[in-house]
Amino acid sequence: MLDQIISTFETGSGFWNPLVWLTALVIAFLIIYILRGFGKREYKKGTDQTQAFLSGNPEYEKDKMHVKANNVYWGFTESLKSVYNFFDKMHTGNVSDYVLWFVIIMGILFLIFGVI
């Protein structure tokens, strides 16, 4: 039973054993932790070291510092605007269109099976 549970899983072109992976991960973290121990200990709380530095400008309120969801990936959506325009046109939110897509798929399948 136990050996069945922890056995390696073959995908036909590779294998995957999460337990081995976890072990490797733990070892990696250990190494990182040890390396981290070699670092400098000059960080002092309560001094200017912990202040945010915005090119000399004063820091905004906390609320405004948070990047809103709308602005995350702005560049991605902007550069793929044509694709998004197409998708937006597709998602009209009109229930007739939803059914129309169904009719279209049915028509395409009819054509494929009818022609062949």
Partner: protein, 93 residues
């Protein structure tokens, strides 16, 4: 005509044509020839009195042979009633 309606008309026509042919290809209305005998229904007609005791074969089918469907159907109605009452319930303000 908008682009949407144009596509809609085209695909609608395709579907219509194929469904129309479906109508033509079905077995002739009301005629069951030798290799197309309704075995299941004939068996029900022959045995509904002796197996279910119902003179009405349709009721025999509804409540005995396919009784589970009727349970599902009753459940559908129950669901709809529950749904309608749920949708029109008083919301707490």
């Amino acid at each position: 005509m908008s682009k949407r309606n144009f596509a809609a008309v085209i695909f609608f026509t395709i579907v219509a044509v194929f469904l129309f042919f479906t109508a033509l290809m079905m077995h002739p209305f009301g005629i069951f020839d030798d290799n197309n005998q309704p075995e299941m229904d004939d068996r029900i007609i022959d045995n509904s009195q002796t197996e279910t005791g119902a003179n009405n074969a349709v009721t025999g089918v509804v409540f005995d042979y396919r009784g589970f469907d009727t349970l599902g159907e009753a459940t559908v109605l129950f669901t709809a009633v529950a749904g309608v009452i749920l949708v029109f319930r008083r919301l707490k303000k």
